[in-house]
């Protein structure tokens, strides 16, 4: 058997990340305790350096495939890798002071974080059931540990355990589904599975396999009714980790779902379309309604991210509707939504962490009068919240627009009904986002206000997403092109 073909240029981002992981581990061994904060610098630089080959490959333009089609580096994969590296970098910026001041293990933290990012970059290229599974576990296992990083805090332990048990359960369900798919299709590569699907074989057993696989992913992306682990895990985990979970690991799950549904199972719309329709409608509605009742901003953002996940599922549910033009439209809608969601949600968490340095809490009540004593933080936080609500001219409006566009393009009754559900939900969502903004702007200033300053790294973690959401909102073409390029891989 000949040795498999390795395209080292195409693998360069993953290789650089791996080298960085080793470097951080070694540095952690060598550095004195007070020098250990530098591990975060190394990790950050690693993420940025890994971005260079991604940009080079994107400029180069040619699609590269390895391992018989199991691993593909195309525009879509590159866009996602760039997103993951950027999200990872922002998470590192967020974590630096939090982890250093909180007396946590520093080196190990960054090693685990980088490993999860590595898993995600692999996920972006995975076009094969086994590769998808390996990537998913590489991304998940470190996050189970990270969720429990505050080990003296009972809630952090609960968070970690809950997340772990749910993660394992969903993996098991998913693997069960995948094994049936393999048993029927005789191949693990998505392209081959697509051929099997289009041949019309398999019958109801294959439908069951699709069902189990999708349910597994529904857990990962915390879609209703498989969402109940998320708020507890989000609240208990250290806040930078929560930011990472709500953005990066969710995106990871969606990337896998995109490959599976659009490449592998697409011909079997009657099997997956109703499931995803229900998941989308339920996630938006339930996520939003529960978010209305939250008094803690982290929990509110957790439920809001469930609802946002519902919006990302909407294009899936209409992709095979109408005259077929909806497929690329729907695919790029989810990709664009993911990119914009990641930026604004990370920004919201960055602002949240910065504000928590002043209020010592994430309870919404403590945000009272923030605008009067920390106007910059209040303004940026408001920008992120209203962007999440989809108010122009902030980036979020474009994400919502492309989703609605996919829905109307499909044009069937069920698509339009889902569109109306989404439209109503965007109004409900505004209520709780605006309420937080109202708390910061309209309510009286507390008697004592903290003068704590925002560290540089955290400031950068807020500034970067702010600039991005304003740029996307005013000139969405930049991001929209990415979504369109990504669609070419279909």
């Amino acid at each position: 058997m000949p040795a498999p073909y390795f395209d080292y240029t195409a693998l360069a981002p993953e290789i650089i990340l791996t080298v960085t992981i080793v470097a951080v581990l070694v540095a952690d061994l060598l550095f004195e305790e007070r020098e250990k904060y530098q591990t975060s610098t190394i990790a950050g630089i690693g993420c940025l350096v890994a971005m260079i080959p991604v940009l080079y490959l994107a400029g180069n333009g040619a699609d590269r495939t390895m391992f018989g089609g199991a691993y593909t580096v195309d525009n879509y994969a590159l866009a996602m890798k760039a997103l993951f590296l950027l999200a990872g970098y922002i998470t590192i910026l967020l974590s630096t002071n939090y982890i250093e001041e909180g007396d946590y293990y520093q080196g190990e933290y960054y090693v685990l974080l980088l490993t999860a990012i590595l898993g995600m970059t692999i996920m972006a290229s995975a076009r094969d059931l086994i590769t998808i599974f390996v990537a998913l576990e590489t991304l998940s296992i470190p996050t189970y540990l990270l969720a429990g990083w505050r080990k003296h805090d009972a809630r952090s332990n609960e968070s970690s355990l809950k997340y772990y048990l749910m993660g394992v359960l969903s993996s098991a369900v998913m693997l069960y589904g995948m094994s049936i798919v393999y048993g029927l299709a005789g191949d693990t590569r998505l392209v081959e599975i697509a051929k099997y699907v289009s041949s019309g074989q398999g019958g109801q057993v294959f439908d069951v396999a699709i069902f189990f696989t999708l349910v597994g992913f529904a857990f990962k992306v915390s879609a209703v009714p498989f969402h109940f682990w998320a708020p507890d895990s989000y609240e208990g985990a250290p806040t930078p980790v929560t930011a990472f979970l709500s953005v990066a690991s969710k995106t990871g799950g969606f990337v896998a779902l995109l490959s599976l549904v659009y490449v592998g199972f697409f011909g079997r719309g009657d099997a997956w379309q109703p499931i995803l329709w229900v998941l989308a409608a339920a996630s938006m509605t339930v996520g939003n309604l529960i978010a209305l009742r939250q008094t803690n901003l982290v929990r509110m953002l957790a439920y809001s991210s469930i609802a946002q996940g519902g919006f990302m599922l909407v294009p899936f549910a209409v992709a095979n509707q109408g005259d077929g033009s909806a497929r690329p439209e729907a695919f790029s809608a989810t990709v664009v939504y993911l990119l914009i969601y990641a930026v604004m949600n990370l920004g919201a968490f960055a602002a949240l962490i910065a504000i928590a340095r002043k209020t010592r809490s994430a309870e919404i009540d403590t945000y009272s009068g923030l605008f009067n004593y920390a106007p910059a933080l209040a303004v940026t936080m408001s920008l992120f919240l209203f962007s999440l609500a989809g108010i122009p001219p902030l980036g979020g409006w474009y994400a919502k627009l492309v989703v609605f566009k996919a829905v109307i393009d499909a044009g069937t009754a069920q698509a339009v009904i889902l569109g109306v559900v989404a439209a109503l939900n965007s109004v409900i969502a505004l209520f709780y986002y605006a309420r937080v903004a109202g708390m910061m702007w309209f309510k009286p200033t507390p008697a004592e206000t903290s003068t704590a300053r925002v560290p540089v790294a955290l400031g950068a973690a807020i500034a970067l997403p702010t600039i991005l959401i304003l740029a996307i909102g005013v000139y969405p073409n930049l991001f929209a092109r990415l979504g369109e390029l990504a669609t070419k891989g279909l």
Binding site: P393, D409, A423, L430, F431, G438, F442, Y475, A480
Partner: protein
Amino acid sequence: MDWFDSWALTLATFLPLVGCAVVLLIPRAKEELIKQVTLLTTLLTLAVGVMILFQFDYDAADKLQFTVDKSWIDVISSRYHMGLDGISLPLLILTLGITLLCVVYSWDHFPEPHNPKAFLALMLVLETGMAGTFVAQDLILFFIFFELVLLPMYFMIGVWGGPNRDYASMKFFLFTLFGSALMLLSFLALFFLSEPHTFDIVKLTEMHGAGIAHGTQLLIFGGLFLGFAIKVPMFPFHTWLPDAHTEAPTVGSVILAAVLLKLGTYGFVRIALPILPEAAHSWAPYIGALAVIGIIYGALGCLAQKDMKRLIAFSSVAHMGFVMLGISTLTSFGINAAIFGMVAHGLITGMLFFIAGSVQERFHTREISRLGGLLLQAPKMGWILGFCCMASLGLPGLAGFWGEFPAVLSAYEPADGLNLGLFRFFMVVAAIGTVLAAGYLLWMLQRVAMGKVPEEWQDAHIHDVHMPEWIAWLPLLLLIVALGVFPGVVFNVTDDAVQVISKSFVAEGH
């Protein structure tokens, strides 16, 4: 002046945003500098507006002028397309003028909690959104500007508003967003049903909804109707308005009444009617019915109010009912009257809110039963109030008359194919509404301005109109008279452009 042709609208729209950026860079403590920069920005923007007035080709008022058409979001084929015709021109100038006057009015009295920096920055963002809406010729661009006004107004009401501001600002935001979410779905439906797919308002207007099934047209019009009717606001979507108006700071109320409400009626005239004439024809009787219900309901609502601002807010519901009645006739006569009504209502109701604000500032209350004898204590302000009430009730010779009377009259002869009897019935109801309007306005005038000074204020020292107020009010007062005497100034500008819209309904009836 070629460069001006292609840059005028961009300047008029985005200069305030540049000013806002400058204001944000100035430290909060330098209040004078902040005010000067804002004043300069609004002055410059109005100067651009005046230039546009001079350069505008009045013989071709039905054509879009000063057009810009640049690529913007290629992926969804939405373009940066702006243009100005006879319908947009008066509204754009109104917007730029009112904003400047609001800056002048606020000069020395910023409402609590003060903070001129944030207040003026928001006002400039608001100006960009309002001006942009009136000149955007692309549905997505229109949508962005239409929504851009929400955030600043939300914060303006919420931060500087009255005691119930939390509730009022949230209600304002949720109502409008609900409408615009469905409006956006309708825009997208128009995009996919047009051939070739386009968001361009001009191209969509030329298509007149050709090739779209009647049932689908009705649905799409329904989405547009919700978006615009909530903004107008038409009965029964008006409930946000009295709350928002009552709680908003004076300047917020003025902008809300003078410009923001017009975004909705303008949407009908610019988008809903010309793009889907067939559906508009089917919807017209219902719109007319809601409009006259609004006239009567608003008037009755006024008679039950104890608060000056709330009374003026309900009178807005009634006045916008006249505007919508004019639009619902689908005739050039009615639509011309509606546009005149928008401008007149902007000037007059804007003025009334200014006075209500100044009264509140002096007496610390707006409760009508506690006020009285304004003519004795502050005669000038009392007379101005009287003048505005007369203008508002539609006294001939003042601007209000030309908005109201032709609108009522237009219902006598609606577009071909509309139920004649029904619209004549609307006419009678609307005419009764004008009588009620006289009733509530004179009632307010009598209780606030006439009579003896109540004991509570016997010893209070009440300032009459002071300088910033004069500067802010005089232009409005002069315009109310000028437009009342020479209504042709507006009608001549709008008529050509309106003819283009109403023509499609003449064809419709046969």
